[in-house]
Amino acid sequence: MGRYILNRVGISSLVVLGSMTLIFFLLHILPGDSARLIGGDNVSDERVAELQTQFGLDRPLFEQYLSYITGVLTGNLGTSFIDNQPVLSKIMLHFPATLTLTLFSTLIAIVIGVGLGILSAVYQKSWFDYMVRFVNLFSISMPSFWLGILLILVFSIQLRLLPALGSGTWQQLILPSICLGVIGSGLLARMVRNSVLELKNEHFVLALRAKGLRERSIIYKHVLRNALIPAITVIGILIGELLAGSVVTETVFSRQGIGRLIVDSINQKDIPTIQGTLLIAAVLYILVNLLVDFSYAYIDPRIRKSLVK
């Protein structure tokens, strides 16, 4: 088991290094001279050169790369081109809002997705099943900005139940969480429904039925546990996407967050901030997937046993 963990962690570190390298070089081949952009519209060539020296942009690319990697390894993500603040502190300022949003929307996605998935598998081919499948299709294909505006219209403007803007209080968290949660739930519900349906016809389920176990306990005790494994993979992907990609939702609800930080820094070509934010997003994504791998072992004794051997 310990070796397995070590192995996974080792591979993940390589993936982190790979993404760091990729992010660095991609950003540097992008068109648009950072120094010129920082200098503003009317900047002179001398001033551009001065800025390039100031931010080390005139050094050979590989040298810049090395100092970036060493910086990250020592916990220094660099300082922003725009306001000279440490990138890490900028990220920490925006991160809590994104993290809470991610957690709550994932929770909502799990409750709706797993719940609807099981029910529609249990009542396969009933009107309920068809309805759920239709709703799922709808939520998967719905753009988040549209659902966001719709939620604001109904719950905030017409019913006046919840605030539409900002981040900080729990009331402000509800609508954006529902928005992202509902969209995430579609894929999850499909996944759960399909695995439950597959498992319903497995031999072990047949054996359980033959033993005279009640259908309800077969589903909730035995089938669900097995169906959770693919579901967890989806949840892992979902969390990763939400952490890095709630850009649109954050804009619609005027929330603080990593998504808006990324957009603002891309617009200003603030390379250190883009780099830092993308890196944090990549690390979180990889971390979540690592946890997903470990949780397989926790949930499925077969995997655990195979690892111990």
């Binding site: 648009g32 519209d41 725009i82 000279n84 603040q85 604001i152 017409q158 803007l165």
Partner: protein, 545 residues
């Protein structure tokens, strides 16, 4: 013709239907609150949903170049002088001033007992510090640097007298000095915070920054020591409101939604469909003002083939039905613009109005004469190259500009010209703009003085030969230079008039719409005014209870 009218009507019908749906279920039974007091009262906190985002550097008066930032910084920073809507210059932080015979030096006598909100006294040293800071390239001032023109130096004559020197006469100076871009930052705060000053802004204004979360919101509170409002404002002493929370809400549906449900007290840049409805709703007030600025205009690149041919530029212009496009997109809330500058700008040349028209036949005729033939797709082509316009954009649908471009796209297509809307990140946009790698580009530029034309049309402006219009004509440079280097209003207007006529005659600019800056508030919020370029002033604002 019948077909386009039908299309146009259908489009308007769809937009109106959507707008109606948006507001159909709004609570209509609610009676408007009985409003007791008619005179301003102190106290009260408001929230304002700002159209746009204010990021890290934007609360530094000297660095912020965008209009949305100016709308916030106006409350934080004061100016030397105040300009009324009629263009009269009145005292503000300066009690009086004298302009030298040659127009190159301005001597200001400052009000005493003015201080920044960090306690630093406002004096001649502070004026010198600020103007020198703007001219220092390291400050990265954009608009502010341009607004100081040929500034050379400042001399501190005594504690409250300062002489500002220019290398050439600079007529726009007083009008520019009235704007928040040339507002005064606290020298002590700049010293103390250094690079982090923009996140810790300190001015002498009626409000001070309590907290600032870049990209999210800024909280302003009343400056209780404030006692130096210009005479043109409604009262004396401190402002009425205790607190203004400015939330950055770039998404227009959200912005208007929170106003209509009264989660905020104010929202600016109201989309046309909401404007039409809100105007008739007694629960809300709509304030509108025409900004003084360079209109949002299209610039075909005359340095690049085939746009170097005047007839081809004219053919594009004649294929555009701007009046109809503006009507479709802005639903009658904006009008067609004819000149590069707004109608309320000094020196506006009314002579350019109706000096061209929508005329598809003329467009076709001009292109035929220039050697173009229609290809199989119905697009004009010459030497195997079809007439295609790559239109660069980086700002998105602000003020419905992409919607407008999309209508233009359809109009041009009907006339056999292909328009591609190329959306780019700010970095790539700037790079291609500076390199001249585009067929068409568009922008507006706010300012209170026609001298702003130098930014767009002169090789001697801050953008040099990389100016937006790229006309790069010596006669144009000269008129624009003569325009700013004299205080004689008549001579100024004459030169600016010539410049506008020349620009339109040569189709260096295709002006589109006259922008109405709109500011919607709940009926209880009173007393909001606008400064000379059209930014909101909250000093006299109060909340009826």
């Amino acid at each position: 013709m019948g077909e386009t009218m039908k299309k146009k009507r259908l489009l308007i019908a769809i937009i109106l239907l959507l707008a109606a749906l948006l507001t159909a279920c709004a609570d209509e039974t609610e009676s408007s609150t009985t409003l007791s007091n008619k005179n301003p009262i102190s106290g009260g906190e408001i929230t304002w949903a700002l159209a746009g985002t204010v990021t890290e550097d934007n609360l530094d008066a000297h660095k912020s170049g965008n209009a949305q930032n100016g709308r916030v910084t106006r409350s934080i920073y004061d100016s030397l002088v105040h300009e009324t809507k009629d263009g009269e210059i009145e005292p503000w932080l300066a009690e009086s001033w004298k302009i030298s015979e040659d127009g190159k030096t301005y001597t200001f006598h400052l009000k005493e007992n003015v201080s920044f909100t960090d306690g630093t006294p406002f004096d001649a040293e502070a004026v010198k510090f600020n103007f020198d800071r703007i001219k220092d390239p390291a400050t990265n001032g954009t608009n502010s640097m341009n607004e100081l023109g040929p500034y050379e130096s400042s001399d501190v004559l005594d504690k409250y007298t300062v002489k500002v020197n220019f290398s050439k006469p600079f007529a726009p100076f007083l009008s520019n000095a009235a704007k928040s871009d040339l507002g005064f930052v606290s020298p002590a705060a700049v010293e103390k915070f250094g690079e982090a000053y923009p996140q810790n802004p300190v001015g002498t204004g009626p409000f001070k920054v309590k907290s600032f979360t870049p990209g999210t919101q800024v909280v302003l509170v009343k400056n209780e020591d404030y006692d130096w409002a210009p005479d043109g404002w409604g009262h004396e002493g401190e402002a009425y409101l205790d607190k203004i929370t400015v939330q950055f809400v770039p998404e227009e549906a959200t912005r208007l939604g929170v106003l209509q449900s009264k989660q905020v007290h104010a929202a600016d840049i109201v989309p046309p469909q909401n404007l039409v409805l809100l105007r008739t709703d007694p629960q809300f007030n709509i304030l509108e003002t025409e900004l003084r600025q360079i209109n949002y205009s299209m610039y075909l690149n005359p340095q690049k083939e085939p746009w170097d041919d005047l007839d081809v530029r004219k053919a594009v212009r004649a294929a555009l039905n701007i009046e109809s496009a503006v009507e479709i997109v802005y639903l009658g809330t904006s009008e067609q613009a004819w000149s590069p500058v707004t109608t309320n700008m000094n020196g506006y040349a009314a002579s350019v109005e109706n000096s061209w028209e929508y005329n598809p036949q003329l467009s076709a005729h001009l292109l035929e004469d220039a050697g173009y033939k229609k290809n199989a797709d119905g697009i004009w082509a010459k030497n195997g190259k079809s007439l295609t316009i790559d239109f660069l954009d980086t700002q998105g649908n602000r003020e419905k500009r992409i919607d407008l471009a999309t209508v233009f796209q359809n109009q041009l297509k009907e006339a056999g010209i292909q328009l591609n809307i190329v959306s780019l990140s700010a970095g790539e946009y700037l790079e291609r703009r500076l390199a001249g790698d585009y067929d068409m580009i568009a922008a507006s530029q706010f300012s209170g003085d026609p001298d702003v034309m130098r930014m767009i049309f002169s090789t001697k402006g801050p953008n040099g030969e990389e100016n937006l219009a790229r006309a790069n004509k010596p006669e144009l440079d000269e008129w624009l230079e003569r325009g700013y280097s004299t205080n004689d209003e008549k001579v100024r207007n004459e030169n600016y008039g010539k410049a506008q006529e020349y620009i339109i005659e040569n189709a260096y600019s295709i002006p589109t719409y006259l922008f109405q800056y709109s500011f919607a508030t709940v009926a209880e919020l009173k007393g909001i005014e606008f400064d000379s370029p059209g930014f909101p002033v909250f000093y006299d604002a109060w909340l009826q209870q």
